[in-house]
């Protein structure tokens, strides 16, 4: 009998990923997944409207879909049930809780309009089973870290402090809502996204770009990254966006073209489109770790929110290698 292997997996919460890490993962995915993702976002938007959720709840749900897409192929998951599960988790995290029963009812009504829910309890039970299973997966991906911020509050604060009017703020608000349909919230802190939104708004309303104080924590390089992501969204998925309903296509395309030209003329390094495939992607590491855990008879996963890196490395070396346990999967 081979010796039992005890596998310890330590998961550290990571609210942000680098541009390259995300590119590395997405380059090995089927581009069709982006269409699926937009469908999931649309579903979340519609359900949020019915359940009267504020934008922070629907936003977080979309963020969770993006996070899922990094670690799992969307084509291999039940898409709509996933979206509902994300919304369910989000409404609990954002203090806008609705009973699962009610969420499932709205899910049923949207999926099968006109049908009577009471005579289809079996279908609803099946969905309930899937949603609860997916909920677990989502919580693990989130590392149970519910400290989430949203750009919307800050875009209003910034707008007021920089003396913009309410009509400018509303456009920037809508851009922040659109931002959830990109990877930007996983790549940049909310201050960056809020300033990026204001910047695009100024261009649209032909206002001069504001001077951003340093303590707003929105360095130009990062802001430009977020603007690039947003303009990319407007270029390829305009009908799915809020701003896309307010402005004509040629105006938005014009913005994209202007921005790209400005980037080329500046000394910014070009955007990396392919990352070395010899570097394992985070998704690969995550999948490996999960496989190790499920194949071992004794597995344990620890989720950590924050950690002093040096302390962690020291303790990890002492406890793990001293006890003679095999090298285990340390994933993020």
């Amino acid at each position: 009998m081979s010796e039992e292997k005890h596998v310890l997996s330590i998961r550290l919460s990571r609210p942000f990923y680098s541009e390259n890490e995300i590119t590395r993962i997405m380059q090995s995915r089927d581009p069709k997944e982006n269409g699926l993702k937009m469908q999931a976002f649309h579903w979340i938007s519609e359900m949020s409207r019915s359940l009267k959720f504020p934008v922070r709840t629907s936003g977080l749900a979309m963020l969770l879909i993006s996070r899922i897409q990094l670690f799992y192929s969307l084509a291999e998951l039940p898409l709509i049930e996933c979206a509902t599960a994300c919304l369910f988790v989000a409404c609990k995290v954002e203090d806008t809780a609705k009973k699962l029963r009610e969420v499932l009812l709205i899910h049923f009504q949207h999926k099968h309009p006109g049908l009577d829910a009471d005579s289809h309890t079996q279908i609803i039970d099946e969905v309930k089973r899937k949603v609860l299973g997916l909920e677990r997966m989502i919580l693990e991906l989130l590392c149970f870290d519910f400290r989430v911020r949203h750009p919307h509050t800050y875009v209003i604060k910034f707008a007021k402090s920089l003396n913009f009017t309410s009509s400018t703020a509303v456009v920037a608000w809508n851009i922040c809502t659109d931002a959830y349909r990109t990877f930007a919230p996983l790549k940049y802190p909310v201050s960056v996204i809020a300033i990026a939104a204001l910047s695009i708004t100024c261009k649209l309303q032909k206002l001069s770009q504001p001077i951003i104080p340093r303590n707003f924590c929105a360095p130009t390089l990062l802001t430009e990254g977020a603007i690039a992501d947003l303009l990319d969204l407007y270029m390829h998925f305009q009908p799915y966006t809020v701003l896309g309903q307010m402005y004509p296509t040629d105006l938005l395309l014009g913005l994209c073209v202007d921005f790209q030209r400005a980037q080329r003329n500046s000394s910014r390094p070009p955007k990396v489109t392919k990352v070395d495939v010899n570097i394992p992607s985070i998704a690969d590491l995550y999948t490996q770790s999960n496989a190790q855990l499920s194949s071992s008879k004794q597995g344990c996963t620890r989720f950590l929110l924050d950690c002093d890196r040096n302390y962690f490395e020291r303790e990890y070396k002492i406890r793990v290698t001293q006890d003679g346990l095999p090298e285990n999967a340390k994933t993020r």
Binding site: R14, P15, F16, Y17, S18, N20, E21, R24, S48, R49, K52, F53, P54, V55, D95, T96, A97, R149, H152, T153, Y154, I156, K157, F158, K160, S161, S166, A169, V170, W173, N174, Y188, P189, V190, S191, N215, F216, C217, V275, D276, I279, P280, S281, I282, R309, R332
Partner: protein, 219 residues
């Protein structure tokens, strides 16, 4: 179902009215299901109002709101709604009579009146008339005029405390609800203050965390 049976059943449901949502929904659903008896069932509401304690009356006025909501939800814009629109002032008089009971019920009635206005059951004119009525009666009650209404028992007061607590709890569960996403930014603009030191600290912490994550990234 004949009118007699209907009245008996409905009165029993109305007797059990409390702050709980289910106790409100059951009679509302019954009333809508048995619309052919609507005149009879409607008169039951008056019976309960006339004989009930101040608690019962406040639960009845909330029930009126629930009934209107359920009615609209099911696309029924006449029947009960017409009768309620017609009789709203009389309803208010019963729930806010002059006396201690009346004064206690005044704030609840105002809430319900606003709710009915939002649903367009009553228009601005009627709303103003009703509000004036509530105000007059409330002031008269406070001035000490008592039209001989029975004094409130201790049990009633305790029950009322419980039900108010329950109503507050239910209200808080939905306080975050946004009726239309397009309106949310307006609410935000009116409530959010400009940047403070506290905010800047929070943003800085976020930024630090961001830098940490990027430092750790694989590529």
């Amino acid at each position: 179902m004949d009118p007699f049976e209907g009245r008996m059943a409905f009165l029993q449901l109305l007797n059990k009215l409390s702050a709980s949502q289910l106790s409100q929904l059951k009679p509302a659903q019954f009333a809508l299901k048995n619309r052919e008896l609507e005149e009879d069932l409607y008169s039951c509401i008056w019976e309960e109002l006339e004989s009930g304690s101040f608690n019962t009356r406040v639960n009845i006025i909330y029930f009126v709101d629930t009934l209107c909501e359920l009615s609209l939800k099911n696309g029924i814009n006449s029947g009960y709604i017409t009768m309620i629109t017609r009789d709203i002032l009389k309803l208010v008089e019963y729930v806010v009579p002059i006396g201690t009971a009346g004064a206690a019920n005044a704030p609840e009635v105002r809430k319900v009146l606003h709710s009915l206005r939002l649903k367009n059951i009553i228009d601005d004119v009627r709303l103003q008339e009703a509000m004036n009525l509530v105000d007059t009666h409330e002031q008269a009650s406070k001035a000490g005029e008592d039209q001989g209404t029975t004094s409130i028992s201790r049990a009633d007061i305790l029950k009322r405390l419980e039900e108010d607590r329950e109503r507050h709890k239910l209200m808080r569960e939905n306080i975050w609800a946004i009726p239309k996403p397009e309106l949310e930014h307006e609410i935000a603009w009116n409530t959010i203050e400009p940047i403070t030191e506290c905010d800047l600290e929070a943003l800085n912490d976020d930024f630090e965390k961001f830098n940490e994550c990027i430092r750790e990234s694989l590529c």
